[in-house]
């Protein structure tokens, strides 16, 4: 069975500091990888995705992530965070060739950016 582990439930960081949110997955088949962000009392917004090709993917709001197949990781990074990045971030996987609506999510990482 597939699973997604987000290693940190909460990450506090000061404004303009770099941040890395960690995500590891387990799967016996090839997967697609996603990061979503959820602001308070809102739905999920897609930050970035890895479908194929270059393992370094860039997303919105200055975020990027690197797919590492050997370590089954897809860590999210931003070189300099802003107060407005305070939100909950979810890593998710989708089976290649599986049900195309079935995303498996991690439990989320709450990023708190302090002035």
């Amino acid at each position: 069975a597939q699973s997604v582990t987000q290693l940190d439930s909460q990450v506090p960081v000061f404004e303009e500091a770099p941040v890395e949110l960690r995500c590891n997955y387990s799967s016996s088949v090839s997967v697609y990888l996603f990061w979503y962000v959820q602001y308070p009392n809102q739905g999920l917004q897609l930050l970035l995705k890895y479908l194929s090709g270059s393992t370094l993917v860039k997303g919105i709001n200055g975020f990027e992530a690197e797919f590492n197949k050997s370590q089954t990781s897809f860590h999210l990074r931003k070189p300099s965070v802003h107060i407005s990045d305070t939100a909950e971030y979810f890593c998710a996987v989708m089976n290649y060739g599986g049900s195309q609506g079935n995303l498996i999510f991690g439990k989320g990482t709450k990023l708190s950016v302090k002035p």
Binding site: G43, L44, M94, N102, G106
Partner: protein
């Protein structure tokens, strides 16, 4: 362009009641998926519908059901509500490109927050 719209945004029910949640996908999207997000957890897959047929089902009891209409909108129904059904219910739409053509990217609505007392 309108995104995925869900209604109602908030609702309160008591144990044993029934609830219907509604979702309108982005124009042109033919697939709708439903997710349950319990407080403090990531979303969990409930159903996927495409062209009015169920294409995927998560590990939820039979009290949960859904359907998709000819205009691709969808309803999620939950019978005999339990306290544990309190959650944010998210709908997502996408345009399936076929199993061999790569992943769909799901666009989520803002959700319907259900409180069961």
């Amino acid at each position: 362009d309108a995104g995925v719209t869900q209604s109602p945004t908030h609702l309160i029910k008591t144990r044993g009641q029934h609830v219907t949640l509604r979702c309108s996908p982005i124009s042109g999207h033919k697939s709708v998926s439903w997710y349950q997000q319990v407080l403090g957890q990531g979303p969990q897959f409930i159903f996927q519908y495409y062209e009015k047929e169920e294409r995927g089902r998560g590990n939820f009891p039979d009290r949960f059901s859904a359907r998709q209409f000819p205009n691709y909108s969808s309803e999620l129904n939950v019978n005999a509500l339990l306290l544990g059904d309190s959650a944010l219910y998210l709908c997502a739409s996408s345009t399936p490109r076929g199993l061999s053509s790569g992943a769909n990217v799901l666009t989520f609505g803002a959700g319907s927050r259900l409180t069961v007392l």
